[in-house]
């Protein structure tokens, strides 16, 4: 191990750190006049970082196995930073308001710190690293959730989030202690050979699953999700629902594949039940939601169920499908959240009922929202269809036909509630539709990225093929 390899393999993390430091310093020392360039600077830096991240790092380990990265992992990192960039672009509107403009710096720094944490989590090679990454990814997020601190919902959401996060990480590390106790090591590379399915290992695995289940919000570890999503500022919700979730899902998959592979029997059975519960319950809850963010919370819970379906497959195809699914999910969900945040910013409307007649006044926004919803619902030719199809195929290929069937039945329920929103925007008549507004350029740009992604990510097969190439390397 030399300095060079640190620079190569750790490049995404280092560049993130660099951005964090630059922004922190800029925020601290910039004058009032220079403050207004803060956001553009952040976007540019982030864009550069994202672009650079897509030049994937090679596979390798650092620090004696503490840090282990693969092409797939670095691809996921790139995807996540893309998502973060989109979130940033969408957050601009809300952040430039008077009541929060002075906190802009903190927002960016904290978000990037959590992204850093996620990167660490994704390419950790040791449970300590994993734990640290996990905590870095979640604790600052609690601060972000409390970003609108004088809004009661925001404060309450933050409390719920931090309490749940702490509990779940407590349980997770308790589980890790069992793993450590029975294996004698926490290095990913060494654990598998020590696993022989003793009771404590099983318990440790379950506790680990629970901790990750919290992050991905799988039933029954999902209870915080709707409240937090509803209370948090919209950009943070978007970030929580896509980046945090995507990272956790991928990290979970990595660990399950890399470390708990000998116990696949156990976790596959558990995941089976968890997936069914997750998808079904989330869908049922989603049906009756009024608040659009809360609605999307449940929607994202059920989407998480589909994501982990890819883990079930336990194959390279499943992994490809899952990464692809995460990508598509990120794009679709961010498109939806972009619309939600701009609507909320300009009109203050957050209820689904208040979206009635949106199409008549803001056709573009309604249209983007519809695309996003269709994509989430798995309607072709939008990307969501492809990602669902692939993930189902990979799960079915491993023999989980019944599971796939249940998931499919659930897509119908999900389609129902997605259509409810579409209906509200397009069909429902109202006397007071949201007034027409012009969104910020950055947000429009971010939506354009998302829409392009939604439409092209499916049809342009090179994306899927590319992901496949990198994951097959694993």
């Amino acid at each position: 191990m030399d300095f060079n390899s640190i620079l190569t393999l750790l490049r995404p993390e280092l560049s993130l750190l660099a951005i964090i430091i630059i922004l922190l310093i800029y925020d601290l020392f910039a004058g009032v006049a220079a403050k207004k360039y803060f956001q553009p600077l952040a976007w540019v830096l982030m864009a550069a970082h994202t672009a650079w991240s897509f030049c994937l790092t090679p596979e390798g380990t650092l620090f004696g196995g503490m840090f282990a990265t693969t092409q797939a992992a670095s691809l996921v990192k790139a995807i996540l930073s893309l998502a973060t960039l989109i979130v940033f672009l969408q957050a601009g509107g809300a952040l430039s308001k008077a009541e929060s403009s002075f906190k802009t710096g903190e927002f960016y720094v904290l978000t990037l710190s959590t992204l850093f944490g996620m990167n660490i989590m994704i390419s950790s090679g040791h449970f300590l690293m994993f734990y640290l990454g996990l905590e870095t990814a979640s604790i600052p997020l609690a601060c972000l959730v409390a970003f609108d601190k004088y809004k009661q919902n925001s404060a309450e959401a933050a409390a719920k989030y931090i309490l749940n996060a702490a509990l779940s990480s407590g349980i997770l590390v308790y589980g890790l202690s069992f793993i450590y106790g029975t294996c004698g090591t926490l290095y990913f590379a060494n654990v598998p050979s020590m696993l022989d399915m003793t009771v404590l290992q099983v318990a440790g695995l379950v506790m680990f699953l629970a901790g990750m289940g919290f992050k991905i919000s799988l039933v029954p570890f999902h209870m915080w999700t709707p409240d937090v999503y509803q209370g948090a500022p919209t950009s943070v919700t978007a970030y929580l629902s896509v980046v945090s979730k995507g990272a956790a899902a991928f990290a979970l998959m990595t660990v399950l594949f890399k470390v708990f592979a000998p116990m696949a029997m156990v976790w596959q059975d558990l995941m089976y039940g968890i997936i069914i519960l997750t998808i079904t319950l989330a869908n049922l809850f989603a049906i009756r939601q009024k608040d659009i963010k809360r609605f999307f919370a449940y929607s994202s819970i059920s989407q998480a169920g589909y994501v982990v379906l890819g883990i079930m497959a336990g194959t390279a195809e499943g992994m490809t499908a899952m990464i692809y699914y995460i990508l598509v999910y990120i794009l679709s969900n961010l498109a939806a959240f972009g619309v939600i945040s701009t609507v909320e910013n300009h009109t203050g409307r957050v209820n689904i009922d208040q979206y009635n007649g949106l199409y008549s006044t803001n056709p573009r926004m309604a249209f983007v929202m519809m695309l996003a919803l269709f994509s989430l619902g798995g309607i072709p030719p939008f990307a969501g269809f492809f990602s669902k199809f692939f993930i189902f195929t990979s799960a079915a290929a491993s023999g989980y036909y019944v599971l796939v069937f249940i998931a499919l039945v659930n897509t119908i329920i999900s389609l129902y509630y997605y259509l409810l929103v579409v209906k509200a925007m397009f069909i429902n008549k109202t006397d007071a539709p949201a007034p027409h507004f012009r969104s910020e350029k950055a947000l429009v740009f971010s939506l354009a990225i998302c829409v392009a992604g939604i439409i092209l990510a499916g049809i342009a097969s090179c994306l899927y093929g590319g992901i496949g190439e990198f994951t097959f390397g694993m």
Partner: protein
């Protein structure tokens, strides 16, 4: 005889021409064009018939052959089965060509006067052309499926023409009824075709009626519910025929069909379409004889019963067209009986020849009757006997021609009806005396009700005179009457057996004088009774010839409540016990199940909503419990 195709093409072109241009054709032009084209068709048809009957090519060893003039594959169904369209000439089809074109031409001419000034005049002629086309197509069909095709087409033309006065509720109902009842019968026909063609692997009449019943040899030994496949097939085919030919119990549509314009009744519901069933049985006759001889007596009994039944009802009707309608049913019954009692070849085939002959003569005189009745209705503006009487003074030509027709149908020599009916009775005589007695009795009834009709129209005084003085019909209307009367006068002397027989060989008709005497006596007596009862004045109970059997009278007047039975079955049973439950089932059960799923999901969602209580400790509890349970499960697994 290649030009025979024009018999079909001409009316079809005319249908399209008049039909598409009906808005553009002013005044009488549609009628005149239609009539001219029909005349041409008639000439061609005559030429074809003449050519066929008198050219040596159509006979081999003195036996008329089936000549397939044209045959195009229209639709290939299976390897062997294909529906063809073509022209088949043989004695009966040639005879039918003559009958149809003659009557049709007469009706075309007649309608120029009768329908003058009607709204939809052009439409009327378009439909007439359609009908002529379909009917001609039916008779020249080379295969049973072609026949079925045109069979349906005549059904539709009939539907359209009955419903010609589409603003009249009765006409709408009648047209609907006619179509649906015959359609129901056609179902039998269709299944019959399926059965037969499955075994015969051919639709072609040439194959099906090949001597010796070879067509159905593969069906030997196949039986269903105790009857052979051939018997099933042929019976079902007869059901189709019975529907078109208004055999009991499928006769109910025909009386109602009188709601159409009277010339239409003459053409379709007296002369041509309704005998399609007879024609069908005649067409399939060799197969009946060879493959399922046990079906024929059944057919005869159905015919006989229908004949009797209709004759009885006819005695009690007050609407002159209804009387004629029931009379038609009754006469078709005769034809069916004739076919039913017939055998094959030579003297055995007498019934066949007689049936066909009766078909021919009946077409002429029944058309005449209807057209005469039309003239009367045209004059009186009513169908009810009560409003008629003494018309002989005002409408002499109509009167004379009507009388000739009545005499013919009553079976008085030398009118054509006598000869054909006599041959039928002879055939019955040879079948069984009981059948003979029955048919002779019906012949008497026929004479009775016809003369009742005749006297009530032309002799007795009306009870209810509220109309202007009737006058004779215009020439375009009475010329056809005269022509048909002439035909009726001479048709009996055609040596019919030289042309149409069961086996195609010449059969020399001779009159069985025992039978003839009996039938003449019966007819004369019946006419006498009618004369006594109806000639002079309206009786006090004008519509009740049998005072002392009131219930029977009422029943007969209401046509023995058969319609009511149908109404009951369709509305009370099919609608109420099938359609309504299905409607209910569809809404409540099938749809209800889907809605229940939706409702269930929604309700469940509402139920479990409280689970998300907003209490963070509850979340933690669920979390912990989830972990514990999962551990237990994982350990248990």
């Amino acid at each position: 005889m290649e030009y025979s195709i024009f018999v079909l093409l001409l009316p079809m072109m005319m249908f399209l021409f008049i039909g598409l241009l009906q808005g553009k054709l002013k005044g009488q032009s549609a009628g005149i064009i239609g009539t001219i084209s029909m005349s041409l068709t008639t000439i061609i048809a005559y030429a074809v018939a003449f050519d066929y009957f008198f050219s040596p090519e159509s006979k081999i060893d003195g036996i008329y052959q089936k000549i397939v003039e044209y045959n195009w594959v229209w639709l290939q169904l299976t390897e062997n089965l294909h529906i063809d369209l073509g022209v088949l000439l043989d004695p009966i089809s040639c005879m039918m060509l003559v009958v149809i074109t003659t009557v049709s031409l007469m009706v075309h001419i007649y309608s120029l006067g009768y329908m003058h000034g009607e709204r939809g005049f052009a439409r009327y002629y378009a439909f007439l052309s359609l009908f002529s086309f379909s009917m001609l197509g039916l008779v020249v069909a080379t295969n049973i499926f072609q026949m079925y095709i045109f069979w349906e087409l005549v059904g539709v033309s009939s539907y359209l023409l009955i419903g010609f006065y589409y603003t009249k509720p009765a006409a709408i109902a009648a047209s609907k009824k006619a179509f649906i009842v015959t359609r129901f019968a056609d179902l039998g026909f269709l299944i019959g075709i399926l059965v037969l063609s499955f075994y015969a692997q051919s639709f072609s009449f040439t194959d099906l009626t090949a001597p010796g019943g070879v067509a159905l040899s593969s069906a030997a030994g196949v039986s269903f519910l105790g009857a052979s496949a051939a018997a099933w097939g042929l019976s079902l085919i007869f059901v189709g025929g019975a529907g078109k030919s208004a055999m009991f119990p499928l006769h109910i549509w025909l009386p109602d069909a009188m709601e159409g314009p009277t010339p239409v009744s003459a053409l379709i519901h007296a002369a041509t379409m309704v005998v399609a069933g007879v024609y069908l049985v005649a067409r399939m006759f060799p197969l009946y004889i060879d493959a399922a001889p046990e079906v024929l007596p059944g057919i005869a009994y159905v015919g006989a019963f229908t004949s009797l039944f209709a004759a009885v009802i006819a005695c009690f009707q007050s609407d002159i067209k209804r009387v004629l309608a029931f009379s038609t049913i009754s006469q078709i019954g005769f034809m069916i009986v004739a076919l039913g009692v017939s055998g094959m070849g030579g003297h055995d085939g007498l019934g066949y020849m007689a049936g066909m002959w009766h078909l021919f003569t009946h077409a002429m005189f029944k058309a005449l009757l209807f057209l005469g009745a039309g003239a009367v209705i045209h004059a009186v503006h009513s169908n009810e006997m009560a409003e008629m009487g003494g018309l002989r003074k005002y409408m002499p030509i109509t009167h004379i021609t009507f009388l000739i027709a009545c005499l013919a149908i009553a079976g008085i020599p030398p009118f054509s009806g006598f000869f054909s009916k006599d041959e039928i009775l002879s055939a019955c005589w040879e079948f069984s005396p009981v059948m003979f007695a029955l048919m002779a009795g019906i012949a008497g009834l026929t004479a009775f009700y016809m003369f009742r009709l005749y006297y009530r129209i032309f002799w007795s005084t009306p009870t209810d005179v509220s109309h202007h003085t009737p006058h004779e019909a215009p020439a375009v209307m009475y010329l056809p009457l005269i022509f048909l009367a002439l035909v009726t006068l001479v048709a009996g002397f055609i040596p019919f057996g030289d042309f149409v027989t069961s086996d195609g060989a010449v059969y020399h008709i001779h009159i069985n004088w025992t039978v003839a005497t009996i039938s003449i006596v019966v007819a004369v007596v019946a006419i006498a009774i009618a004369t006594v009862k109806y000639m002079k004045e309206k009786s006090k109970a004008p519509q009740n010839p049998l005072n002392n059997v009131g219930a029977f009278y009422r029943a007969a007047y209401r046509r023995f409540y058969i319609d009511e039975v149908y109404m009951f079955v369709t509305h009370k049973i099919i609608f109420a016990y099938i359609s309504r439950p299905i409607k209910w089932f569809d809404r409540q059960v099938v749809d209800g199940f889907m809605n229940f799923l939706a409702w269930g999901a929604n309700a469940l969602a509402a139920r479990i909503k409280g689970f998300q209580s907003g209490q963070v400790q509850q979340y933690a509890y669920v979390f912990v419990l989830g972990v514990i349970i999962l551990i237990v499960i994982a350990l248990a697994l």
